[in-house]
Structure formats: structure tokens, C-alpha cells
Amino acid sequence: MSESFVSLKNLTLAYGDTVAVSQLSLNIRKGELITLLGPSGCGKTTTMRAIAGLLSPRSGSIEIDGTDVTKVPANKRGVGLVFQSYALFPHLSTFENVAFGLRLRKVSNGEIKKRVEQSLDTVELGELANRKPSELSGGQQQRLSLARSLVLEPKVMLLDEPLSNLDARLRLDMRSELQRLQRNSGITMVFVTHDQGEALALADRVVLMKDGLIEQMGTPTELYNHPSTVFAADFMGFENIFEVREGALIGRDGSKISGYNAPSGSLAWRPGVVSLGSGPFHGTVAGVSFAGEMWEYVITSPLGRITASTPAGNPPYPIGATLAFDLPEQFGHQIKGAG
Amino acid sequence: MLALPAVLFTATLFLLPVLVLLSEGFRVDDAWSLQGYADFISKPLNQTVFFRTLKLGFLVAGVSAVIGYATAFSIFHLPSKHRGRIFGLVVLPLMISPVARTYAWIVILGRTGIVNDAIVGLGLSDTPIRLLFTETAVFLGLLQLFMPLMIISLISAMENLPNDAVAAARVLGANWLQVFLKVILPLTKEGLVIGGTLVFTGSLTAYITPAILGGAKVLMLETLLYQRVNVANDFVSAGIIATILITMSFGSNLLFKRIATART
């Protein structure tokens, strides 16, 4: 990719003897919003800390804007980071928190006042300039933390699970707020999260990580509709995944159900496409719960545990009921390799 | 790297001289020998002082535990706004010069002190009786000096009690005695052990109290050490006493750690 703005090459990162990320390569375009997605321990935060310069790589290199910054210390990299805890300075006012980096750069007082006020206005904290961080709400602290980094106009902005300490409602607001900021400023952002919905909603591109390696990379729609591995499919909500071998579906109990023509690998179904009421399989309803627009079922069957859903208009099957169901091949998503 | 100056400073100034001093106990006439220990142990005075020190240590720790427990438990049951203040009063003596604290007992127990005034005034005795320079005086002095440590340990253990443990036990039908025996006591055992160790080692290694209230009549290990050096220039005995003191205070610290971590 010629237009790459941030480029990680064969990056290996370790804490002591524990290798957290191995041989990772990734190119990020200018102005792109990338999310690093994955379960805890997958290496996403470690990768981010390496880009920030808080962790030196064991091997490999990091380039930003055409310059190799692998050996450049964190305070000279021009990278902004919003911490999960916000890491605001409790002894300084809102204004001084934002002014902190500008003062280090020996910017004149008049200029500082102008830029801090402007940036506080952008995040709608202009009125609260004299408050201490402890007097701000969670959402306000979050925005202050953003303003503190943005005022320095960093080349790259890193965000470490920045929304995880907010309540559900605020999280949605902040999501769109972040998107707006990013679109307006055109800043390159790397957003770390373990929340699949957040990653898909925000990103231009999603990098799904597992065990220190990139599992799959692509646009949100690519990842959502075409996960290429069992892990990715599972992460993207294909909750029923079964191996297919020699024209037969392999149940968890080892049973072989013929009639599937897919090439060897796996087939995956979202709960919505499992059809209940008829079909070649039988199971027992172990749980049913109301989820607004649908009923969600957990069904135990000889194949294994199946999750399914039906529109809420229909009366639900009661717990303990035996029912027939089908995993129609045409709705199954094909994955190479077994789970 | 940052910790190095502090470590080097402490090691050269504190540990090195102390280790050399300890080694003196094993040297007699410029040769390595255990003769010093044999001589030391064979002297009845040394034996008396050793066992007296040990006895007072246990006694002070034991009595502190009983009185301290009752006090801590009472303070713990005060409304929280009073609790802080009373707790402050318990801690306060720790910040005051031990010399000043101990000297008060001279006023109380001296020949013209408050206790003797009472004894003579009530006609229990015609002449003042000797209360100073007795084991009782040293015991009282040590108890006053170190009991706050016990109370502090116990109160912090009680404050760490799971919030609803007592309430849960009450709801399950336990009376106060049962709550105390089955819930509070087992859960504050650690505080008792920590407090006990602090009071015990404090008493073992106290100098001021036996020096002022015991004098030459009631020697303890530290005052004996001072006397051996100042009066007799006897560094073999000094090394031996130092070894005993350090062994006992490190030993009880280790023991406490084991007891504290043994709970599952």
C-alpha cells in the first residue's frame, strides 16, 4: 500500500519472556479510523502501546509519516493517546490539563489561551475550564482527555478502550461524537476495543486480533458478512458453527449428518437463520428469553448446543418442549478449516 | 538504579556495623570461639535477665491483647463520627517522646508519688513502699508504651471485616457472644497476631522503660547490653546480647508472617 501513513513491519512485542505480539505487519492510511478488536490478551493494547512508544519492540519497525520512529522516545513521537482511565492530572484545572502539552512546547500565553479555549469548545467543555477533573462527570472527563491530546494536533491518535467506563447510553453518544471529531479533523485514529459492535460501528477498517496475530482484517461489512475463520465467525455472531467433511455435517457428539454438499471446512449460522418447527434435527428448549423484537432460544440437541431466534409476534415454545429444527445449507456461511 | 542510594546507605551504615558487632560474640582473645557464649550462659545474672525480658515481653503482649481487644471492640462500636476522634486519642501517645511518657510513671509511682500518697493516706502502710525499680513498674511502663500498637492493629482488622458479616450472622440467629466467637474473633485473628508481634518485639527491645523504671535492679537485655559496654567494656557480651535481640525480633516477625499467611 503506497499511501500508508502508519506502518508496522514484522513487529514482535514482549513483556519479559512472554511474547504478546509476534511478527505483526499493518498499514494504516492517512485519515483512516482503524479499530484493533479482540478479546483481552490478544495483543491489541500492546500493539497500541508500541505505536505510542511506551513499549520498545523486540524486533520489527514502526514508521509514521515516512519516518522510522522505532527508536524515537514516546515524548517526541507526536502521537496522542486517550487512556481507558483518562489519566487526567487531578491537581490541574480543565484548562491547565489541556494547556499542559502546549506549555512544554513553549507556546506563548496568548496562543495557549486561544488554542485551549478553541479545543475545549470543540468538546463542549468551554464553560467548565476552571473545574478540577474530579468535578467532571465521566463523559466530560472523557472529552477532556480527548481535547488534551487533540490540541497538540498529533499525527496519530490512539484510543485505548475509551468508552468502556461510560454507561450504555453515554457510550452511544460518545461514539458519534468521536466519529464527528475524526471526520472534521481528518486525523488518523487507532481505536482499541473488545466490543464487536463498537468496532464495526466506528471503523473504516477493523483489525481482528487473536493470540498476538492478526486473524482477519477488512471493512466492517467484510468482517461481519464474510468472516474467514471460525474464530472470526464466532466473534461476529455466527453462534452455530459445525464442521463439514465429505458431504456430511459433524455433530458435537461425532454423528455425521449427510446431505451437505459444501467443501470440507465449516458451516456457520447466525441464530436468525436457524429454522424452528420443522427439519431433520430434534432438540429440547433449554432456555427462552424475550429480546424485544424476537425470542431467543437455547436448544440442546444431539448435535450440540444451538442458539436460534424467532420473531416476537409468534407465541414462544415453552422450556422443555421438544422441537424439530433445520440448519439450511443455503443460509450457512462457508469457512475454510474446522473449528 | 533509583533505589540504589537508599539501599547502599542503609547497608553500609546499618547492616555492616551491626554484622561486625554480632560477630564479636564469637570472638574471644582475637580468635573464633564459642567460649563467649558458654561463659555468658553460665552466669546466673544473664539467665535472669534473659528470662525476665522474655517474661515481660509475653506478659505485656498478653495483657495488651486482652485489654486492647476489649477497647478496640468498644471503639469499633461507637458511631463513626466519635470513632475517629477516640482512635486519634489512642494513636496520639505514639507520637509523644517515650522519655516523657515513661517519666510520668516516676511521678505516679515515686516515693512522693500519687500511689504512695494514697497508700500512706489510707493508712495501709506507715512509710512509702518501693514501687519504682520493680518489675511491676517496668511492666506498667511497657504496657502504656505499646498497647496503642495492639489497639491500632485490632481496629484496622475490624474495619476490614466484610461489611455484612456481623449482620448476616445476626440474621442467621447468632447472639452477640456467638457472633463474637464465630465471626469476629476468627476474622480479626490476623490483627491480633500483628499487634502481638509489634508489642512483643517492642517490649523485648525497649531501652527507655527499663532504664528509667527498672534501673540497675530490674535489668532487661537492652539495659544489660548498655551496662556491659559502659561499665565493663565487654564487647563479647554485647555481641551475644545483640545476636539474641536480633534473632528474637526477626524470629517473631517471621513467625508472624507465617501465621498471617497460613490462613486459607
Binding site: 505510542a52 511506551l54 515524548n75 496522542g80 493517546l81 482511565s85 489519566a87 492530572f89 502539552g101 497538540l152 | 533509583l2 533505589a3 537508599a6 539501599v7 546507605f9 542503609t10 551504615l13 547492616l15 555492616l16 556495623p17 561486625v20 558487632l21 476489649a70 477497647t71 462500636h77 486519634g88 489512642v90 494513636v91 501517645p93 507520637m95 509523644i96 517522646s97 517515650p98 522519655v99 516523657a100 511518657r101 517519666y103 510520668a104 510513671w105 511521678v107 515515686g110 512522693t112 500518697d117 502504656q144 498497647m147 489497639i151 452477640w176 527491645t205 531501652y207 527507655i208 532504664a211 528509667i212 537492652e222 547490653l225 548498655y226 564487647f235 545483640a242 535481640l245 536480633i246 525480633s249
Partner: protein, 258 residues
């Protein structure tokens, strides 16, 4: 447990712990020549007399000097150590902790004697120098403990944030860490000051002609006289400590740190 039992137990214990101070204050107020309680008439003369004693004035000055500068040096050594212990995974962290804590565990009298015999005499140190070093070492454990506790309460990502905004590590420490552990450092100073000022065993052997700390001087003085001046001085010291702690508690919430 009944309300009155509670009050009674607390009352008795506090009387035992604190009562003697009132007795000693009163004993110092005596108008007579001998130590007695109740005092023989009331007067402030012994309280004034304390200030007339030359050796008390000298030893007070020495104790003050040791307490202030010994504690400051202990902080200079102890704060970096505390920082290292709480921020880095040191290879021998436990050993470092044990060595730094040793001055609390090793009985002071042994330390004093060891210093005198193997450092002061062979290396020709002055007694004041040895006292200064011993008091510094004595306070290090308190400095390290109190400052470490403050540091552990301060999230380390705050320093990383400062670094990413352009600070050096040292700059981040000065601009972000220090302002936020100010209370802890001040509390460590007060605790160290009080500990050093009241310290006896370490200084016991480290005394020379004209070089005595105040508590040692008091011990010597009470062996030769039986007048109420030592009681008066003890009372003054107690009042001074109470005053310091009261102010520290009021402005700092001192007890949080100890």
C-alpha cells in the same frame, strides 16, 4: 454490649494511656523543689527553668537539626527508592524492601553501638556526623513506606500521559507525580521528624562532650536531679508533639497516611 460498658472500657483505657500526661503537666507546675503529685503549690517556675538550662538548649538545637535535616536527607534517598519500588519490577524487590526496612527491625541500641565502634572510631568521624547519618537511615523506612503508599494510589498511566504530551520521565515525575503525592511526602516528613526527635536507643552510644540529643540529655539529667524540671520539659515536649499532630491532622488528614 451495653452502651455504658463501652464507655467504661474506653474511658479506663484512655485514662491509662493519656492520664499520665496530665499528671506530668501538673507535676511540672509545682512551686516546690521536689517532684511530687499533687504538686506543692502552683507556679510556672519550672517551665521557665527548662529554658535556663544550657545543656537543654544545646541538645534541643541538636535534636531539631537532626530531625529536620536527617528527615530531609531520608526523603532525598527514600522518595526515589519508593518510586522505583512502586513503578518498576525490580529484580531484587523483596531484598531491597528488607534492607530498606532494616532500621525499624534492628534494635537501635545495636545500630548505635555498631556505628560508634566500627565507623566513628576507626574512620575518625565526628559524633555529630554519625548521629546525622544514623538519624537519616532511621527515617528512611518511614519515608519509603509512606511515600510508596501514596504512589500506589496514583495511577501510573498519568505519567505515561504526561510523557506522550511531551514530558521526559523526570519531567513527568516533577510536574505530575510530585504535586499529587505532596500530602504523602509531607506526612512522611512529619512522621520522620517526630520519630527522629523522640529517638533514644540509636543515639545512646553516639554521644560526646557537648553532643547529646535532647532525650539523652533528659535521661542524664534525671539521674542527677529530682526536681520538677524534667517533668516540665516532658510536658512541653508532649504539648509540642500534640500540637504538630493536631495541625498535621487538621490541614493534611495526617492519619490517612500513617
Amino acid at each position: 454490649m451495653g452502651k455504658w460498658t463501652t464507655f467504661l472500657i474506653i474511658g479506663l483505657t484512655l485514662t491509662f494511656l493519656i492520664g499520665p500526661f496530665f499528671i506530668i503537666i501538673a507535676a511540672g507546675l509545682s512551686a516546690g523543689e521536689n517532684l511530687a503529685f499533687p504538686p506543692e503549690g502552683l507556679s510556672l517556675k519550672w517551665y521557665w527553668a527548662v529554658f535556663e538550662v544550657e545543656s537543654f538548649r544545646e541538645s534541643f538545637a541538636l535534636s531539631m537539626f537532626l530531625a529536620v535535616f536527617g528527615t530531609l536527607s531520608a526523603l532525598v534517598l527514600g522518595v526515589p527508592a519508593a518510586y522505583a519500588l512502586s513503578r518498576y519490577r525490580l529484580p531484587f524487590a523483596e531484598t531491597v524492601k528488607t534492607i530498606v526496612a532494616a532500621p525499624i527491625i534492628v534494635p537501635g541500641i545495636i545500630v548505635g553501638l555498631g556505628l560508634l565502634r566500627y565507623l566513628v572510631i576507626p574512620l575518625n568521624f565526628t559524633v555529630s556526623m554519625a548521629l546525622f547519618m544514623a538519624h537519616t537511615a532511621l527515617v528512611i523506612p518511614y519515608a519509603v513506606r509512606v511515600v510508596t503508599a501514596s504512589l500506589e494510589n496514583l495511577r501510573s498511566d498519568m505519567e505515561e500521559a504526561a510523557i506522550l504530551l511531551g514530558c521526559t520521565r523526570f519531567g513527568a515525575f516533577v510536574k505530575v507525580v510530585l504535586p499529587n503525592i505532596r500530602g504523602g511526602v509531607l506526612a512522611a516528613f512529619i512522621l520522620g521528624f517526630v520519630t527522629s526527635f523522640n529517638q533514644v536507643p540509636v543515639s545512646l552510644f553516639l554521644s560526646g562532650p557537648g553532643v547529646r540529643t535532647l532525650p539523652i540529655d533528659m535521661l542524664a539529667y534525671m539521674e542527677i536531679t529530682y526536681d520538677p524540671s524534667v517533668a516540665a520539659l516532658s510536658a512541653l515536649l508532649a504539648i509540642m508533639s500534640v500540637g504538630i499532630i493536631f495541625l498535621a491532622e487538621k490541614f493534611l488528614g495526617f492519619s490517612r497516611y500513617v
